[in-house]
């Protein structure tokens, strides 16, 4: 008999974090010698009056619990859209299962490469570019250029009615000082907390560690101020109130968190005396 593999889903989640936006996170447990820590791998469901969109798909190994959570949240309706931010397994690995469960689902976003990875879902692919909007009924989802990314076909999204910016691997961070892995992690019991609720705030060292690892290019490109100035401009332009990263806690106080992430990004640069 095969083992049914399911990653931990916190009992604190799913959780409504803004109007029509539900935070769903499977947490990958890491068993260290003296403790267990968790790594967020979040998906977000944005619901309108007649349609809904799932932002990122979660890890394949958490599919059973993601599927049952969708059943609970959608209450008999079909999932209309899925927006994979970029084609890494934690973000897109459940695309075939979503199409199997919801045959009419539209996969929206920068869909380049997906026909090579998932040839069976080609009819469901609907390419979008920044500025394109998806009407959910009393709620919109807007495709936004990703200002912090690793893969070239990364996109961000924005739900104007909720004020939530979905930033994929951007604004991911850790907030524990004694970490030994590059995935952003937290302690059990913190899975469903927003950054405004955390007892231990993010430290610059945590942000630097994550940035230098997961956004590897930051150690070579000395342009953090330019990057985050653009992000702040985007935040002002769109009227963003909260930021929803795939890895890391939901950011409810973006104005407090942004300077820490920016400082961590700067610190990730390795060549202080070299020409930028």
């Amino acid at each position: 008999m095969e083992e049914q593999l399911v990653e931990t889903m916190s009992s604190d989640l799913p959780r409504s974090v803004a109007k029509g936006v539900t935070w769903m996170s499977s947490c990958l447990p890491f068993h260290l010698a003296d403790r267990v820590i968790h790594g967020h791998n979040s998906t977000y469901l944005v619901q309108g009056e007649h349609s809904s969109i799932l932002v990122d798909t979660g890890n394949p190994s958490s599919w059973p619990i993601i599927s049952s959570t969708l059943d609970e949240l959608l209450d008999g309706r079909e999932l209309t859209y899925v927006f994979p931010t970029h084609p890494e397994l934690p973000h897109t690995g459940n695309l075939p299962r979503l199409v199997e469960k919801y045959p009419n689902i539209q996969v929206v976003g920068d869909t380049r490469d997906y026909h090579l990875f998932y040839p069976q879902i080609v009819p469901n692919l609907h390419a979008k570019v920044p500025g394109d909007k998806v009407d959910l009924g009393g709620q919109e989802f807007v495709v936004v250029e990703a200002l912090i990314r690793d893969l070239p076909n990364t996109q961000w999204g924005f739900a104007p009615g909720a004020g939530v910016l979905f930033t994929a691997d951007g604004f991911c961070y850790m907030h524990r000082p004694e970490l030994d892995d590059e995935d952003p992690v937290h302690l059990p019991g913190e899975c469903g907390l927003t950054t405004g609720e955390l007892q231990v705030p993010i430290a610059v060292e945590n942000a630097a560690f994550f940035t230098g690892s997961a956004l590897y290019w930051a150690r070579f490109a000395n342009d953090a101020d330019a990057v985050y100035d653009r992000v702040l401009h985007l935040i002002d332009e769109l009227g963003v109130t909260s930021v929803a990263p795939t890895h890391g806690n939901f950011i409810s106080n973006i104005r407090d968190v942004e300077p820490i992430i920016r400082a961590g990004h700067k610190r990730a640069y390795r060549y202080e005396t070299a020409q930028p």
């Binding site: 790594g39 897109t92 380049r112 990875f117 590897y216």
Partner: protein, 275 residues
């Protein structure tokens, strides 16, 4: 259709990717066909597959693998990256062949990533190769050597020039350096074109072409401090003196003159003001 790169030792398998505007890792407007590569290292009855190719090429890769190692044969796999162009045939390979060992980096177990692969027996066959990290977030290869068979090893290294967690492999026996998502610039005009650039082929590669492919995925290079990357790359090639560059995508570069020429292109591409 597979091609032997070194008799009884190294074979390249895979299909071609039409460059039709739907591929993110090539320069905008690129045309032609880009080979997608998986490599089979063979020593006697032992086999190590470097990457597994694209799902869209699944049938041809599996059929070629069956011809090379026998239907249901045993094979170990080494993933240079956990990206879908490298891993997406893991499940069908496991369904048709016996995966003896899986060498991969990262905290996500690729055996967990596919529906039919969550069996404990398979999970126990995974060897993580990047578990050791420094305080600054560097990944270092833990299993610095993968033994293909007694007396033949693949040396594994996390390269300085990378985007996501990535490993390069070095097979001294065939003089082959597996470079994953760098040196991917060799494309073909026709789907049945020559997927190997060697001394018998008219090589029209330009530094602009190399830079275009590099920057398409490594978009940060033109605004970055590249000197350490150039120094690392030059040192790597001086030390190993490879005879073959074997990327996950793009034409295989074969022959020391060809390798040296393309190293020069890459070093110039890593000097953005020259391009």
């Amino acid at each position: 259709m597979f091609t032997s790169l070194h008799a009884d030792k190294l074979t390249v398998l895979g299909g071609n990717i039409p460059l039709d505007g739907r591929v993110s890792w090539v320069p905008q407007g690129a045309t032609g066909f880009q080979p997608s590569n998986a490599y089979l290292l063979t020593e006697g009855t032992s086999n190590l597959l470097v990457d597994s190719g694209l799902a869209v090429h699944s049938e041809e890769i599996l059929d070629d693998l069956a011809e090379l190692i026998g239907e249901g044969g045993g094979v170990s796999i080494f993933f240079t990256r956990s990206e879908m162009d490298c891993v997406s045939n893991l499940e069908p390979i496991a369904g048709r062949f016996d995966i003896e060992r899986l060498f991969t980096g990262g905290v996500i177990n690729p055996f967990d990533a596919f529906d039919d692969l969550s069996r404990m027996a398979l999970r126990g066959r995974r060897h993580q190769i990047d578990a050791h990290r420094t305080e600054e977030g560097d990944s270092l290869a833990r299993a610095a050597e993968i033994e293909i068979a007694p007396g033949r090893v693949l040396q594994v290294e996390s390269p300085l020039l990378r985007l996501l967690p990535t490993f390069w492999g070095w097979d001294k026996e065939t003089g082959t350096l597996f470079t994953s998502d760098t040196f991917t610039h060799g494309v073909m005009d026709r789907p049945d074109g020559q997927r190997i650039i060697d001394s018998t082929v008219e090589d029209t590669t330009t530094v602009e072409q190399v830079a275009g492919h590099l920057y398409a995925k490594y978009e940060w290079i033109p605004r970055s401090t590249c000197e350490p990357l150039r120094e690392w790359l030059q040192d790597k090639f001086d030390t190993l003196d490879p005879e073959i560059i074997a990327p996950s995508r793009g034409c295989v570069l074969k022959g020391r003159d060809v390798v040296r020429r393309h190293l020069g292109f890459m070093l110039d591409a890593l000097t953005p003001q020259l391009v």
